[in-house]
């Protein structure tokens, strides 16, 4: 769907981009869209940080060729959006629990969206970034900056977590692996990241090993109960 960039803020390594879609795309927290921009053939997946009506906001880390080009987008530019794709968090988590949300870098985006829609399911939030750079564009009371606090967000969570708490985490595979190890005695759902091809489960490009065989992160996830997945391969 042809969509219009309406606002864009950038730092050296991050982008916050507001987009207006042609029609309303109702996106549940945890779902994602495939975004493509001029000059690229294949789209990439992004989870919005917020979505209301035709407006969608993305928090994007500048890590590769496409995101470097995205940084150059201006209000009025067009991008292509396909979705929503993936299973909403709410369909897979235990709704009778309250969650500590742990975001690793731009993995924070879908969790911020989740907090907006389901505040009653959130006990505490912590969104970890390495440097204070993110504060130039993201206003949120729960930003954790490793270099300021002298510890990782996981270490911080370890200090306040209670034995009955449950966790909802989103970030890089290494970040999630570390969390799974550290909080192995807790109910912990992870929204997994992987390079994707089609985004709809057919190309088999984004696998995760689970107790019931290989699943696709795009279609069967992105969220999984971490006790069901094997992240080493």
């Amino acid at each position: 769907m042809k969509s219009l960039v309406t606002k864009i803020q950038t730092t050296e390594n991050y982008i916050i981009m507001e987009v207006e879609t042609e029609h309303i795309l109702k996106i549940e927290p945890g779902q994602f869209v495939m975004i493509n921009i001029k000059g690229f053939v294949f789209p990439k997946p992004f989870s919005p940080m917020d979505q209301k009506g035709k407006k969608m906001v993305f928090l994007i880390a500048v890590v590769g060729e496409m995101t470097s080009e995205m940084k150059k987008l201006k209000p009025g530019d067009h991008i292509e959006i396909r979705g929503p794709l993936g299973t909403p968090f709410i369909e897979k988590i235990d709704r009778n629990r309250q969650y500590i949300l742990i975001g690793g870098d731009c993995g924070s985006a879908p969790l911020i969206h989740f907090k907006n829609i389901y505040p009653e399911l959130v006990k505490k939030e912590i969104y970890g970034f390495v440097t204070p750079e993110i504060k130039q564009i993201l206003t949120n009371d729960n930003l954790h900056i490793d270099k300021v606090e002298g510890m990782s967000p996981l270490k911080k969570v370890e200090k306040f977590i209670n034995k009955d708490d449950a966790i909802l985490i989103c970030g890089s595979t290494n970040f999630i692996k570390a969390a799974k190890k550290k909080f192995k005695d807790y109910l912990i759902y992870g929204s997994l990241e992987e390079r994707m091809g089609c985004g709809i489960g057919m190309c088999k490009g984004c696998p995760v090993k689970t107790k019931s065989g290989i699943k696709m992160i795009c279609k069967d996830g992105p969220i999984f109960n971490l006790s069901e997945v094997e992240l080493e391969w």
Binding site: V41, F42, P43, R195, M202, C203, C206, P207, K219, W233
Partner: protein, 300 residues
């Protein structure tokens, strides 16, 4: 309407083996019955888990995959995927893969009574073999395989090959063994380096490179085969993203055109191409367009 080996296709647009899976997911987005055909994902005798992630690397004008023929194996395929494929009102092509001749032959026997129109022997997947070599480099082995396959197969046999220095020799041997057609080309070999981490992105290093960047390579391969073997049916594929791409393949001699990575970029691409080709052929004969750009190039 397209006729090949006595089978009728509604239009020349089919889905290539692989990116479209076995059709169920794609059917949530497009009506597969609008297409000329659908090639199932390569099935092997035993289940294959595929390669470890990452399996997808985006590069300029293309994509490198390292899927590694993930598939449920023939038993589950027959139980869980074949009924859906057979329920479609379009032609089904079954892609089969193996490590040995006997594996291919067993698969043909197991699938001989299915409703599929052709078998496509995948001889060129870049993601499963050791040391990145596979059957497609051994023309004697291909000769033997096709000869044996033709003895037992109830359906025409296509072989799927990549771009290869010895393509003409291999196709000649396959024709001598009785092959009915060829699918050209499989993904090429590709690699990407992560310069920040100073290492290769894919665990196997090399993956299958597809997308618009390989279109000229595919056209050149088809050109070389079609001008030598004028009457050999060809399924052309490699970077087809719109009807103009498709026309180039048809004009160079492809009877059918298959969409591979295009369907990953946008699941609606095959339908758009089928629609646009239908419009194009309102004013032009499909039969006369096949190979029209080859006039003067056929070997006699």
């Amino acid at each position: 309407m397209v006729n090949i080996l006595g089978f009728t296709f509604k239009n020349p647009v089919i889905i290539a083996s692989g990116p479209g899976g076995n059709g169920k997911e794609l059917s949530n987005y497009i009506d597969l019955n609008r297409l000329g055909g659908f090639t199932a994902k390569t099935v092997t005798l035993k289940e294959r888990p595929g390669n470890p992630p990452p399996r997808i690397v985006n590069v300029k004008a293309g994509i490198i995959n390292s899927i590694g023929l993930q598939n449920p194996g023939i038993d589950k395929f027959i139980k869980e995927d074949l009924p859906f494929l057979e329920s479609l009102n379009t032609n089904i092509i079954l892609s089969i893969g193996g490590d040995t001749k006997s594996e291919y032959l067993s698969l043909i026997e197991r699938l001989n009574d299915s409703k599929a129109v052709f078998f496509e022997l995948n001889l060129s997947c870049p993601n499963v073999s050791k040391h990145n070599t596979n059957l497609e480099h051994d023309s004697d082995a291909i000769y033997e395989l096709v000869k044996e396959a033709k003895k037992i197969s109830k359906k025409p046999i296509f072989i799927k090959l990549g771009s290869n220095l010895f393509l003409e020799k291999i196709v000649k041997r396959a024709i001598d063994a009785g092959v009915d057609g060829v699918s050209l080309i499989n993904s090429s070999k590709g690699l990407k380096v992560d310069i920040k981490k100073k290492r290769l992105i894919l665990k196997r290093g090399i993956g299958g490179f597809s997308g618009p960047a390989i279109k000229p390579i595919a056209l050149a391969a088809i050109f070389n085969i079609k001008r030598k073997f004028k009457h050999l049916p060809i399924i052309g594929m490699g970077g087809i993203f719109d009807y103009k791409d498709a026309l180039e393949f048809i004009m160079i001699g492809a009877n059918l055109i298959a969409i591979g990575s295009g369907v990953m970029a946008d699941p609606e691409i095959p339908i758009k191409i089928a629609h646009d080709l239908e419009n194009y052929f309102k004013n032009d004969s499909y039969e006369k367009t096949i190979g029209c750009a080859l006039e003067g190039f056929y070997d006699r």
